[in-house]
C-alpha cells in the first residue's frame, strides 16, 4: 500500500526539480539590470507609505474559521461515505444529525452576520 504513495513522492521530487530549474534558467537567460526604481514596490507609481502590514479586519478570520470547522467536519464524512453501503439506516441518521449540527453552526454564523461582507 505504501508503494502507491512512492510514486507521489517521486513525482514531488521530479516536479520540484523540473519546475525549480525554471526561475534559475530565467535568471541566467534574461538580462539583469536592476536599479533602485525598478526594485521598488509597485503601487500605481506612488511611493510606498508606511509598513506593508496594514491591519486587516477580523472578517477574514471569521471566513477562515467557518471554513476550518466545515473542513474538519467534512473530513469525517469521507470514511462514512466509503462505508455507506454497509451501514444501516441508523448510521445514516447519526451522520445526518452530525451534518445538521454543522449546518446549525453555519446558520448561527449567518444569523450573527459573521458572513456579511461589508
Amino acid at each position: 500500500m505504501r508503494t502507491d504513495y512512492a510514486f507521489i513522492g517521486v513525482t514531488l521530487v521530479v516536479a520540484c526539480a523540473l519546475i525549480g530549474v525554471v526561475p534559475i534558467l530565467n535568471y541566467l537567460i534574461a538580462p539583469q539590470t536592476p536599479n533602485k526604481s525598478k526594485r521598488e514596490t509597485y503601487e500605481c507609481g506612488m511611493e510606498t507609505v508606511g509598513d506593508t502590514w496594514v491591519q486587516f479586519r477580523a472578517q477574514y478570520y471569521l471566513f477562515a474559521l467557518i471554513f476550518v470547522l466545515f473542513d474538519v467536519g467534512g473530513v469525517l464524512l469521507f470514511p462514512f461515505a466509503v462505508a455507506y453501503n454497509s451501514v444501516n439506516l441508523w448510521g445514516v441518521i447519526v451522520v445526518s444529525l452530525f451534518v445538521l449540527t454543522l449546518l446549525a453552526s453555519l446558520g448561527y454564523a449567518i444569523k450573527k452576520g459573521a458572513l456579511n461582507w461589508e
Binding site: Y61, F78, Y84, V92
Partner: protein, 226 residues
C-alpha cells in the same frame, strides 16, 4: 538500510528541524511556514505508517486550514516581525523540555527492555508487550484493506464512535459560536450602546444603594463619547 528508513530519517530531519525553527524564529510569518513544513513531514510519517487517509487529512486540515487560521491571526495582530524569541522563563522551559525528552527516550528506547518491571504488561485489554513489539521483528500484522471502511462504519455506529461523532459535531458548533462571539468586530454604534447600557446599570445600582433616592427613569451616558 532500507528505503523506508532513509525516508524516515529525511522526514525526521525536516519535521524536527522545522519544529525547532518554529519555536526559535523571530518572524511570526516564518514560524507559520516552518510549522507547515513540520506538518508536511508528519503527513509523510502517516504515509509510512500506512495511514494514507490520515496523511491526506493532515494535509487538508493542518496545512490547508489550521495554518491559514494562524497566518490570518498573525496578520490581524500586526506582530509579525521583530518578536522577542524568548521570555524570562525560557531556561526553566528548556530544562523541563529536555528532562521530559530524556525521560521519554529512556522509557521508549531499547535501553529499558531489560528492566524486569516493563515486560508482560497488560492494561486496557491490550497486551502491550513493549519488548516484543519494540525489539524483535516479525510480530507485525498487516493493515486490512478495509480499514477506512471499518473506520467509517465505527464512526456511524452508536455502539462504537457514533456518540463521539455527534459530540464532536457539538464541539465544533460550540467552538464556532464562541469564536464568532469573541472575534467578531462590533460596530462603533453597538459598542456605544453597550457602554451606555453598562453606565445605566451602574447608575441604577448606585441609586439603589443610596437610601431614599428615586431611581432615575432615564440615564444618559456621558462617558460614551470621547
Amino acid at each position: 538500510m532500507t528505503v523506508a528508513q532513509i525516508v524516515f530519517i529525511l522526514l525526521t530531519i525536516v519535521g524536527l528541524g522545522a519544529a525547532f525553527l518554529v519555536v526559535t524564529t523571530r518572524n511570526l510569518f516564518h514560524a507559520a511556514l516552518y510549522l507547515i513544513a513540520s506538518f508536511f513531514a508528519v503527513s509523510g510519517f502517516y504515509v509510512l505508517l500506512e495511514a494514507g487517509f490520515f496523511a491526506a487529512v493532515q494535509f487538508l486540515v493542518y496545512i490547508g486550514a489550521i495554518s491559514i487560521l494562524f497566518i490570518f491571526a498573525t496578520m490581524l495582530t500586526r506582530t509579525v516581525r521583530g518578536m522577542v524569541p524568548r521570555n524570562s522563563q525560557w531556561q526553566a522551559a528548556l530544562f523541563i523540555a529536555v528532562v521530559l525528552f530524556v525521560a521519554m527516550v529512556v522509557m521508549f528506547s531499547p535501553i529499558s527492555f531489560s528492566l524486569p518491571t516493563r515486560s508482560d504488561r497488560t492494561f486496557g485489554g491490550v497486551d502491550w508487550q513493549f519488548a516484543e513489539v519494540l525489539g524483535k521483528p516479525g510480530v507485525l500484522r498487516s493493515v486490512p484493506d478495509s480499514s477506512i471502511l471499518d473506520f467509517g462504519r465505527a464512526l456511524s455506529d452508536l455502539n462504537q464512535y457514533g456518540i463521539a461523532l455527534l459530540l464532536s459535531g457539538v464541539l465544533l458548533l460550540i467552538g464556532m459560536i464562541g469564536a464568532i462571539w469573541v472575534a467578531r468586530e462590533r460596530k462603533p454604534r453597538e459598542i456605544l450602546a453597550e457602554r451606555a447600557r453598562m453606565a445605566a446599570e451602574e447608575a441604577s445600582e448606585a441609586a439603589r444603594q443610596s437610601v431614599g433616592t428615586k431611581i432615575p427613569d432615564v440615564v444618559v451616558a456621558h462617558d460614551s463619547h470621547h
